[in-house]
Symmetry: D2
Subunit: 262 residues, 4 copies
């Protein structure tokens, strides 16, 4: 059977990334020693030399299928990319694994336990001869309460659900074992006006309502507090932050965004 | 050229609906004499007799393309469906036109004018020999403020953006000329704790914050108030209501739903 | 603390459903003896008596949290709903659990094994004193190849990814143990022009291409073949089917839909 | 009334962007002398000096509301951003306007006219003292037919709907008047295996089927052909291209991506 993909290409364009996207697989994610089975949406690609017509699309699914039973950590992501470099005879590979990861939440007064879903993404980029560049993406929800609304109103203050989207790029591949989803979720959710919880009894609801009312934050305040925290994280090479408030007094949102290379 | 669609089918199954979906077209929507050009997402289908293999898919786009320059009202929807019955030689046709419709909002203190987008849907169903059954779908945003949170807390109260989704089915096709998008948007947005606005100056924000704090409503309260209003609407044959609060203290939503045939 | 939800309501409206929606939890789904951990999106609601102002929203999350470690089957769904009737002192409860479920696929020539994600939904509705009405929802992908395009063209034929969305409602609650996700996925995916697979080597791609080219089906053909199969399923009380082709020659889709009560 | 936003901030962080997002407004887009009213989704932001606590969120909606009746071109976008720099006393402003734009399509044999929706985005970035950097985003649909599938199969070949997403950044603000949505849509849709159309009669369907079967392209082929064309566009400073095939033989997609600074 002719291998049309392997034909020579004469257009002279090296393609930066070609591969598969929107593939779903069950994966085991390991975070700080604890494992969770997740449903991952996957994008997986390699660069393609200028003289080759196409890549071998079936090999991406093969490489992934072989890894489904082993816990995935950042270190394991580097091994997957390394396999791709070899199996697809190329010099650059990248992968994104996006999944909901569950973090335990204990309600602040009644101490009820529940699980909160956090949107999480592992992004790895590997060039032949280098160590992987690893980025952890998180979308962390919390509540925000508007300082202006409180200041100008005789009673009450508008508040709303907010989310903070971060992308954290790590500098030293040898320390990837210390990257912790849960640690960063905890760090970020504390920058809103109050944490939020799947399960709140009335005493908890009183606590959360009053806590938010005493911890006034514009979307810019939350962004700056997250930035301040991230500047102190060890081993971080770069970060992106976006905070978005689903405004209760508008049908559009307020947001703030910021990137830094450290 | 053989017309494969026109082949005889022997499976003996009359199909209830077959046609096209997710087609986008610019349409002119006429509401109470005022017209707006909108971007509509369209689903358009007919029934198919048991002895026919397939419908003629290109005719749906042809019928719609011919109507793009005329203002669409419920009465016009009936004409489109009537054309489909003839052109596709069938006894049932249905259409859904979904679009964002803009309603003028004037801020409560500074009287600043802005436009608020409401998700709107025209649904028509026509059986040969009958008049059309017409349904108006709306998604109307507002703010809600939790009575429990206010009651139990020393200060503040959690509030959030909410939306009310209604489907209003009209009884008497001769009175379709009186169906008004804007009238129903106004009716529904008044059932929340406060209306919301794209453009609010600080004096308006104070007004909205205080108004919501004095107009406490659970999601069930809003639902019941909408139901009470809809029971008094002339010419309504049936309605469905769903209210949903994007809870500021949780990462999930509270909702309430109800249907009635009048 | 005052329980505002428990206040008497005087509007005289019994609400059909009130509860929570878009809650995410990890659940264990058991299908035919085999279990999978999934990430479920959940809606959970009860009816509310006319004289009560609000339901107790925190109890939905409490009931669910207590069930996370037990395998969920249709029978287990009935127990969850029964608990809701008691804990929320009401006469009707309903739940929807939506999740991606993975089904093993073996490529037709090279016999490579991979996993295909199917969107799945368990819907239970329980009225006090009755047995549960259970509905299984599935979205099953396959490929479709257009008979008209093949007939009129000298070579080739347009084909595309398609999906079939079914909702299967079961009649006899005592036989819910026999409801099988995997069995219905297999039944439905065989009604397209060809099954599709996450992992295909070249010999498999040749097989799938040729198989589809010899198994021509309009969207109406697929719908009728699914309907014919479902009419013969034991213990089915009703079904809904929608087939949709993501047309490769248009930027809109063709679809067909049908419902029956058996 | 205290202006809390105007308070001094001591965290020492200049924020790169803060503003509003997911606002919807009707806008008039002017392209090559022809105007269309569209429904735009808008993000509009400015930078915020390190010593200021918050921006004035209401001014974004005010600036936009004042522009709704004038045709929007890239040059007009620059004026909007310039107004933002003044009204919000800052040194950087950016805006994104995303909308469906309709392009006329004439079917290849029967010459039937219809309109095809293209997802379009105007992105402007303006720093004080500079001219605007303008980026045109487009998502253009077409069909692709797999060379491998045709080569290895005795008959047929899998094909599918594809889309090409481009972001075109222009170098010389004085030549923005020559940026044409329609010209770039035409350029890109010709790089697939065949153009697609909302309205095709049978003679057209034969034409499109056969044209695609004779114009075989992997996702990498399409990408390279788009890149080749874009390298020759006047006045372009940079581009990003992503092509994605909604594979008819898989439930995931194939894609290729590439960026260049010219």
């Amino acid at each position: 059977m002719t291998d049309v993909q392997n034909q020579t290409d004469k257009r002279g364009i090296k393609i930066q990334r070609t591969g598969i996207t929107k593939l779903h697989l069950p994966l085991i994610i390991s975070d700080g020693g604890k494992s969770q089975q997740v449903t991952a949406q996957i994008q997986f690609a390699v660069s393609l030399a200028a003289n080759l017509r196409g890549t071998h699309m079936s090999r991406f699914a093969e490489i992934l299928t072989a890894r489904m039973t082993q816990p995935i950590t950042p270190i394991e992501v580097e091994k997957i990319l390394s396999t791709a470099l070899k199996r697809l005879s190329t010099d650059f590979a990248e992968i994104s694994l996006a999944f909901k990861f569950f973090v335990k939440k204990i309600s602040p007064v009644s101490s009820k336990t529940s699980l909160s879903a956090v949107d999480c993404e592992f992004i790895g980029e590997l060039s032949r001869g280098s160590r992987m560049k690893f980025t952890l993406g998180l979308i962390v929800p919390f509540t925000s309460l508007c300082p202006c609304s409180k200041e100008i109103s005789e009673y009450g203050a508008h508040n709303q659900r907010s989310e903070c989207r971060v992308k954290l790029t790590f500098a030293d591949a040898d320390k990837l074992g210390a990257v912790s989803i849960e640690k960063f979720v905890r760090l970020i959710e504390q920058q809103g006006s109050s944490e939020i919880y799947p399960l709140l009894k009335r005493a908890d609801e009183k606590y959360v309502t009053e806590a938010a009312y005493q911890n006034l934050k514009f979307v810019e305040d939350i962004l700056r507090d997250v930035v301040t925290e991230l500047r102190h994280v060890d081993n971080l090479a770069a970060f992106e932050v976006e905070c978005e408030n689903f405004e209760s007094i508008h049908n559009h949102n307020a947001f703030a965004g910021h990137r830094e290379i450290l």
